[in-house]
């Protein structure tokens, strides 16, 4: 590649990193945690770790009772999730149309007794997942769709950064194994950036593409459709989803939801994980029965039947079997690593942390190169502030993520406000860390101290979990709940890893070996003979 082009590509790689590197770090880091959304749900709420039941109480009367007081015409969606390994209880979900919008209602029952489980507000697990998905974008600024779109745009920028990164690094094969630990801090960071970039490359490509698609599809697919149909959004929906089915207005008895639980998939023989219902109590009611796929690249296998007669109905819209819907169905499992069990999730987690670290290291290399050489066009104070901001933002999100585990565990307020509390603690800790990074003596010490503190905090979390649950992790494991002890184990391991890395980090910038060697090679001023006059 010609030199000018290489410089331009390198510039593009640099500005994508410097302008959006910190946001990319946040999205990648929170994404690594969001992968354990289900496991953390079990960890955060010991009351949900119910014993598996051989003969559960019937769910149909529970759901009928749940919806008895809701106006059927206002119901837009009904769902029943059957007990599973991670969620060993019935979950009833209802969306009700109100003047303010859609009201989401949820009720959970103990399958052994049918007793309603105490409502627990959205907390830690919801925050970790939704902050990654849509940055918890406030409704006042456009709501979650905007947040999701922004995360999608970051995915596009990440794709651009990957393409330019591949072209910038000409010795990509060498970088597979190059890790010069005895060189200067800049070389070490550069090698780490390149090493992580090369080793996580296939993962980065998959994550950037699927993340970009999941983010922007909610904005751009309707926008494109509306352009094609000259502003008629209903026609767009009809063209994709098929003609809408209406409520008949004739009351009918629904198929028993407990019979549904025993209805095997026509091909795989798997039992249903959940049932989604349209037009509950109406003659036109439809059941969409969702089955767990067997480690395939899709979330669910589905069958659609009449909710009154049980007659099979064809799958329509995005659920209709076709090559394009099959590919679309693979996007979410590919992004969240749900297709290969817990081992794959752990691999995704470590690759995600590697990806986030690579982004942060790229920024630090860029700053270091400009702050300590003639390449920088700005004042040293500017690079110092940029460096502190990078450390503050990156370490802040790490410390804040650990802090909200404690915030959720010790929360005693109203369940409706749990998520507000979690968000408040998250941002308070994050901003406090950014502030600390700006007032601390140097970035090396800041990183070392904050990583050490995070390590101690993480090691303390299994203890908090055991006290809260009143049982030891191994007892929980014996009782058949693997998710919470797994989270405990991962937290413990991460805590130890943070402490180990922190203890090896330098407390200040080391001498520039190359510059010192150059200085040593130069003769001292006194040794230089004075120029002879004439």
């Amino acid at each position: 590649m010609e030199r000018d082009r290489r410089v331009r590509i390198y510039d593009a790689h640099s500005w994508t990193g410097i302008s959006l590197g910190l946001v990319l770090f946040v999205v990648c880091f929170t994404g690594a945690l969001a992968m354990f959304h289900h496991e953390i749900q079990s960890w955060e709420d010991p009351a949900r770790r119910l014993a598996a039941v051989e003969e559960p109480v019937p769910a149909h009367p529970l759901m009928a009772d749940f919806m008895a007081d809701i106006d059927p015409d206002a119901i837009t969606f009904v769902g029943l999730i059957y007990p599973s390994e991670y969620e060993p209880y019935y979950q009833g979900l209802v969306n009700v149309r109100t003047e303010e919008g859609i009201d989401f209602q949820r009720r959970q029952w103990d399958p052994a007794t049918g007793a309603v489980l105490p409502e627990r507000g959205d907390g830690l697990s919801t925050w970790l997942l939704d902050f990654h998905r849509d940055l918890m974008w406030p409704a006042a600024l456009g709501g979650r769709t905007i947040g999701r779109g922004l995360v999608g745009i970051f995915g596009i920028v990440m794709m651009l950064s990957i393409i330019t990164g591949i072209l910038t690094h000409r010795k990509i094969l060498k970088e597979f194994f190059q890790f010069r630990t005895r060189k200067s801090i800049r070389v070490k960071w550069k090698d780490s950036h390149n090493f992580l970039g090369v080793w996580t490359l296939p993962f980065s490509i998959v994550i950037a593409f699927t993340g970009a698609w999941l983010g922007i599809v909610a904005l751009l697919l309707p926008a494109t459709g509306v352009l094609v149909f000259k502003g008629d959004s209903e026609k767009v929906l009809e063209a994709i989803q098929g003609p809408p089915v209406e409520r008949s207005g004739i009351a009918a008895v629904m198929l028993d939801l407990d019979d549904m639980a025993r209805r095997p998939h026509s091909d795989s023989g798997a039992l249903p994980a959940s049932v989604f219902i349209n037009f509950w109590g109406d003659e036109n009611a439809e059941y969409t029965v969702n089955y767990e796929p067997d480690t395939e690249l899709m979330y669910y296998e589905q069958e659609r039947i009449s909710g009154v007669t049980g007659a099979p109905l064809p799958l329509t819209g995005l659920n209709a079997p076709s090559p394009e819907t099959r590919v679309l169905a693979a996007v979410t499992p590919l992004h969240y690593g749900t297709y290969g069990g817990i081992a794959l999730k752990l691999l995704y987690f470590f690759l995600g942390i590697g990806l986030a670290s690579m982004v942060a290291l790229g920024n630090m290399v860029w700053i270091e190169r400009r702050a300590n050489s003639s390449e920088g066009k700005r004042s040293p104070a500017f690079y110092d502030r940029l460096s502190r901001l990078t450390v503050g933002v990156c370490m802040g999100v790490v410390v804040a993520s650990a802090a909200i585990f404690y915030a959720d565990a010790f929360y005693t307020g109203a369940e409706d406000s749990r998520i507000v509390w979690i968000g408040s603690v998250y941002f308070a800790v994050w901003f406090a860390v950014i502030g600390y990074a700006f007032v601390a003596s140097n970035n090396y010490r800041t990183t070392r101290r904050l990583l050490g503190a995070t390590g101690i905090a993480l090691i303390g979390l299994p203890v908090v979990s055991a006290i809260q649950a009143g049982t030891m992790p191994w007892q929980t494991l014996i009782d058949g709940h693997a998710a919470a002890p797994l989270v405990d184990a991962v937290l413990l391991l991460l805590g130890v890893a943070c402490l180990a890395v922190s203890s090896r980090l330098p407390t200040q910038r080391g001498p520039d070996k190359k510059r010192e060697a150059r200085r040593e090679r130069q003769p001292a001023a006194t040794d230089v003979p004075a120029p002879q006059a004439g």
Binding site: R5, A12, F209, W213, V217, T224, G225, L227, T325
Partner: protein, 104 residues
């Protein structure tokens, strides 16, 4: 009146930024408009069924957008990608205005 002044100011700003920094404006703005309007135009022009085509193009959108951005820095001449992207935007807009929607 105020609305038109704002629209005029935005148009002038886009024109000025395209003139001053064609690569950067191409990457930030024209790559997006070219992706959205180019895709919409393709959907109208292609003689294929609407549903599979929009789903496939939605899958291709992140790749097309990223490649358009990349083109802005790949090409030696700063003006070529910017002109190309503006042209794709205009062609897509023309198709959206002129071609009737599917099933009409």
């Amino acid at each position: 009146m105020i609305k038109w002044i704002i629209v005029g100011a935005v148009v002038l700003f886009i024109a000025w930024s395209t003139w001053r920094k064609p690569r950067l404006t191409g990457t930030i703005l024209w790559s997006l408009t070219a992706t959205v309007l180019g895709t919409a135009g393709l959907l109208l022009v292609l003689p294929t069924a609407f549903k599979p085509t929009i789903l496939w193009t939605s899958l291709a959108t992140p790749i097309i957008w990223a490649l358009f951005m990349f083109w802005c820095y790949w090409d030696a001449r700063a003006w070529r990608p910017a002109t190309g992207l503006i042209l794709v935007t205009l062609l897509g807009t023309a198709a959206v205005i002129v071609v009737p929607p599917p099933g009409a």
